[in-house]
Amino acid sequence: MRQCEGVMERSWVIKNGRVVDPANKVDQQCDIIVQDGVISTGDEIGVDDLPVIDAAGCLVVPGLIDMHTHLREPGQEYKEDITSGTLAAASGGFTAVACMPNTCPVNDNSAVCAMILEKARSAAARVYPVGAISKGSEGKQLAEYGELRAAGAVAVSDDGLPVTDSQLMRRALEYASDFDLAVIAHCEDPALSTGVMNEGEMSTQLGLKGIPNAAESVMVYREIALAEFTGKKVHIAHVSTAMSVDLIRQAKARGVRVTAETAPHYFTLTDEAVSGYITNAKMNPPLRTGEDRAAVIHGLQDGTLDAIATDHAPHSILEKEMEFDVAAFGIIGLETAVPLTLTLLHQGVIDASRMVELLAVNPARILGVEGGSLAPGAAADITIIDPKLEFSYSVDQVVSKSRNSPFLDWTLTGRSMLTMVDGAVQFSRFI
């Protein structure tokens, strides 16, 4: 394993891999030629002289894009920072991350956006800042979307908190469309959502206060109603319930411009993972029941859910090694998303093309950023994945600054082997 530094080679030929590039309807064994950081047909250069990356047995796919990451900088650098977070991303196969604005200070202005992008210049992955929907994410006044867009924001969200004021949300959908900013909705009714885990059999058994699935779904329906009324786009973050999947499916059938993501933990775990008061199984929205998990998987299969995003939420042991009631919500996810998604592939739930759509093509489309394609002329953002490699995700392997993962010591199958951004190898497990 190595992180590459210094002047980087940016021309390569990637040989022997199975290229999966659904945006261009490609799924076949072929070479990918990278010339000066750009994907090339190879017609004009001597391919024989290029350094070779042997991707035998591997999938070669457009660089994965995580549209929901918390990098914690500025303000909580002890949990994660832009350098460590993007390195975790690169090690997990992501060439780009969209970072949520719930930092200290909140990213609701050009200064914070510019600072993030400045730090990101030397980062291991592209960083797309997400600005706040409301000033300070306080849910009262719209943030200045024009300024945020000019500073480099690609979307707005008050993630971590819901926008409780429906009028403000309506105006956000409308105003964001003037600047082509995606609006990412964290759906949660705060009055209903006062618990610490999913409300149901497990919360009763453990004596923990529950968060009903309705707390998410009532807000999902509100966002759909607002998008339908205004004719604007809305993107639903971290879908966790069967009811939400149903609502989104019906809305899409009516032609509402709604897109949605889920996270690997929602299609991998259920609220039974909380048993034993395991704080690494505490996140918001909470892990739900087996029925919800099955509905999320079905949503990934039938196109109701457009993207898999990690909701990478680093917390130190200061926030996690404590009583379940007061432990922080959230888990890291950048390093486990690929193997957990590959599990769906190995189970035959989705195929490789669908996996690439969920992790690259659709996130790029929803955020309106480049990527998701290996067509000649595209920036060489490439991820190489060994779908069969088994590894144990032990604590000493964690790249993120934080270790709050429920998947520690799991044996996982499939791993990103190499991550290339603009033709430069940012992370490699080859040799």
Partner: protein, 310 residues
């Protein structure tokens, strides 16, 4: 009891971790200790030289006193620590407190905490045996055991009984431990209360959820009511105690639907006239004070057993 049985629990965190044999063994042990409390000199040397710490993060008079009396009657040295939950959140974490206490080599830590699972976490950080004296809305195992001991004394058995539990099932660790215990022993636990106080998943815990007072009380062998609170953390659970008492309070008339020899139980303290009418609380069917007496015996048994005695 199966031959070759031995009590193997280092901690007592919940009745959900105890088998039928474990429960019978605890109750038998408690039974044998009960007579100590009736002696003129109420002390045996069994736990001499052992240190027992009562770590109570929630105010409690009865349970703490009961554990303290139990420990002292066994000749253990007892110490009470009551960090208030508010200062605990600002200051030392539970884990730090646990490590500090552990460094003083206590043998048993009895913990009560408003957070479910706090005793479980504590047990991972200390060398001492941990006894859960009530954690959040999770469990109150010594209460569940003293409830079973009381029923067994009066009914001669713990199987094939109808146990009716009425009240705030959502927030009651007492109800939870009773459901776990009585169903493990082969009895049926029927629960009823306002819909706002009946959590999801009670059936999976083994309880039968009733739809009326008549249904829950009819032919019951035991009628247990729980203390009621109007509101918790701004959650509007009930409009008034007046209405609660009319609809869910157990009256003498309601008791006439139960078996004639049905027991009336309550974990205390009783809101007289709210969940339990005074004439019922004071009737000959009431075993509320027997519960308190048995509490000491059960807690003596738990202290004895977690120290590896059999």
């Amino acid at each position: 009891m199966a031959t070759g049985y031995f009590f193997s629990h280092r901690h007592i965190l919940g009745i959900d971790e105890l088998s039928k044999d474990d429960i019978l063994h605890i109750l038998d042990t408690a039974d044998s200790f009960k007579e100590i409390s009736a002696r003129p000199i109420k002390k045996v040397p069994t736990l001499r030289g052992h240190t027992v710490i009562n770590l109570f993060y929630e105010p409690s008079t009865r349970t703490r006193l009961s554990f303290e009396i139990a420990a002292k009657r066994m000749s253990a040295d007892t110490f009470n620590i009551s960090p208030s939950t508010s200062s605990a959140t600002k200051g030392e974490t539970l884990i730090d407190t646990a490590r500090n206490i552990s460094a003083m080599h206590p043998d048993i830590i009895i913990v009560r905490h408003s957070f479910s699972g706090a005793p479980h976490m504590l047990s991972r950080y200390v060398n001492a045996a941990v006894i859960n004296a009530g954690d959040g809305a999770h469990e109150h195992p010594s209460q569940g055991l003293l409830d079973m001991m009381t029923v067994k004394e009066h009914k001669g058995r713990l199987n094939d009984l109808k146990i009716a539990i009425i009240g705030d099932i959502s927030h009651s660790r007492v109800a939870h431990s009773a459901i776990e215990g009585f169903t493990t022993m082969g009895s049926e636990v029927h629960v009823f209360g306002p819909a706002t106080l009946l959590p999801k998943g009670l059936e999976q815990l083994g309880a039968k959820v009733c739809t009326s007072m008549e249904e829950v009380v009819r032919d019951a062998d035991v009628v247990m009511t729980l203390r009621i609170q109007l509101e918790r953390q701004n959650d509007p659970l009930l409009p008034s105690l007046r209405e609660y008492s009319r609809r869910f309070g157990v009256s003498q008339k309601m008791m006439s639907l139960a078996k004639p020899d049905a027991l009336v139980m309550h974990p205390g303290p009783v809101n007289r006239g709210v969940e339990l009418m005074p004439e019922v609380a004071d009737s000959t069917q009431s075993v509320i004070l027997n519960q308190v007496t048995n509490g000491v015996a059960v807690r003596m048994a738990l202290l004895y057993l977690v120290m590896g005695n059999s």
